[in-house]
Amino acid sequence: MTPTTSTPTTSTLSVGALTRVEGEGALRVTLRNGALESVELNIYEPPRFFEAFLRGRSYTEPPDITARICGICPVAYQVSACNAMEDACGMTPDPSLVPLRRLLYCGEWIHSHALHIYLLHAPDFLGYPDAISMARDQREAVERGLALKKAGNRLQEFIGGRAIHPINVRLGGFYSVPTRAELAPVAEQLRRALDDALDTVAWVAGFDFPDLELDYELLALTAPGHYAIENGEIARSAGTSFGAAEFSDHVVESQVPYSTALHATLDGGPYLTGPLARYSLNSSALSPLARQAAADAGLAAQCRNPFRSIVVRAVEVVYAIEEALRIIDDYERPPRPFVDVPARAGVGHGASEAPRGLLYHRYQIDEDGLINAATIITPTGQNQLAIEADLRRMVSENLSLRDSELTALCERVIRNHDPCISCSAHFLRLTVERR
């Protein structure tokens, strides 16, 4: 960061790159006469054109192609793509195969959340510039985080064929499915990880959280009987639920001049998807152990403080591990690894809960099974307005801070949401301008 002062009334702060987020972008905060004028989250990473180059490809390809959008949440892309394409083809996934999709997804939640909690987010609360500095003093905690992450990676690798960009997912199911005996060592590792996950909740619960209560709407999948991960209806905090097919009736993307990522609104307003939304809309669906861990950590049934998202992620890790163990415990090898999904002309919609929030896919295919149109709406794209709203609140309430402190606070506000700019278009140069 390089503070420069050009006149007594104007100062500009520049951060070369915002760290511990994914991708490339910038944040511009403008203050005029000591009051906040504007906040612009500027994603300048070039668009990636996935929706364009999916056109003309076979309907069977999106699970593998869209997985490449993200190295951390490829399963989310695979599952949302399968949900959408199976919907287009009028096919419901075989009930014997759904738990394996959920199990694979649990692996992704565990490793993605563990990485964010320990290596990206916790340093903010403990006053370290990065995880490496933190690791020197907090070795036991960081080792616990790495063990937790590894348990998630191994689960994803075991079901998905490899830890990054799994290759075992296909429309209608999987290329191969494990035997019950093969899952035993995975369960053993997960049982150890459950203790680490509970210790993680207790660890993050002890952090200091700045006061911030968000008032925008929340959007997350919801499902009867369990915490929604791989599928569900779309629930919202101020309105009735709707199906994935109605997503575009409510969520509209628009272009803003300062960003290459589209901004999404829910019925015209900003909204948030991700851990806070999931938890606030679905906390009663958590397992008793996860609910107890949340209560012990001081969480009520809803959580609207983005700084506490680290606690919610930790609770979700507990849930994901328990859920994985439950699925493994109930597991009977499905008779077939997949069911055929014959192509038919139509439009399909699919959504699932990526670690960072709701991920929506829509495909239109012709009678030959070729894709005519593809739409992918990512969690970070959806959250941009909410992140800007958080920034406006925090900057307005902290105008007396020195620019360097204000800059650090803005970076924390952004990291609360674990933005994946790579998925939304990539992050971050930060400028505070006082006029």
Binding site: T19, C70, I132, S133
Partner: protein, 160 residues
């Protein structure tokens, strides 16, 4: 399972020259060197912490995509030559960042040597291009020389 020396081949052998790391590991495997552990299939750079922890010497071999490129050209560097970590992102921990994290956790080898080989083709398919294939024996010879000279040091007996 710890050995005094670990050789780690990074890369995907189904992406042509990206497979040079595993090819060097396969060639060293043929030599059946005592006290040398071989690792391939690293996907997440964080897995390097487990691969090289407690080793006296870690040799890491990877393909390099450089423009303009001289395919088959070999580069050698040590941990101290790798640029300092600049702060992590959620998706792209590099070897330097993992090494720095490993140092903080006391999970680094005593010595790290990195060999990179400039690639000509990292497209789909198995098999190295002739220029990169020709570099493999040179990398193997240099790496083995490093291993032998390191093993000759008196404080590095087997089973360290």
């Amino acid at each position: 399972m710890n050995s005094p020396v670990v050789v780690i081949g990074i890369g995907n052998e189904y992406r042509r020259d990206d497979g040079v790391g595993p090819a060097v590991v396969a060639a060293i495997n043929e030599l059946a060197l005592p006290g040398v552990r071989l690792v391939t299939g690293i996907e997440d750079p964080m897995d390097l912490l487990d691969a090289w922890s407690a080793a006296a010497l870690a040799v890491l071999v990877d393909a390099a995509v450089i423009s303009p490129s001289t395919p088959g050209r070999i580069h050698r560097c040590a941990a101290s030559d790798v640029a300092a970590a600049r702060g992590m992102s959620s998706h792209s921990l590099n070897v330097a960042e993992v090494f720095a994290l490993g140092q903080a956790l006391d999970r680094v080898p005593d010595q790290l040597v990195v060999f990179t080989v400039e690639a000509a083709d990292t497209g789909h398919g198995v098999g190295l291009t002739p220029q990169v294939a020709a570099a493999v024996p040179d990398v193997v010879a240099t790496a083995v020389a490093e291993i032998v000279s390191r093993s000759a040091e008196p404080h590095l007996g087997p089973g360290r």
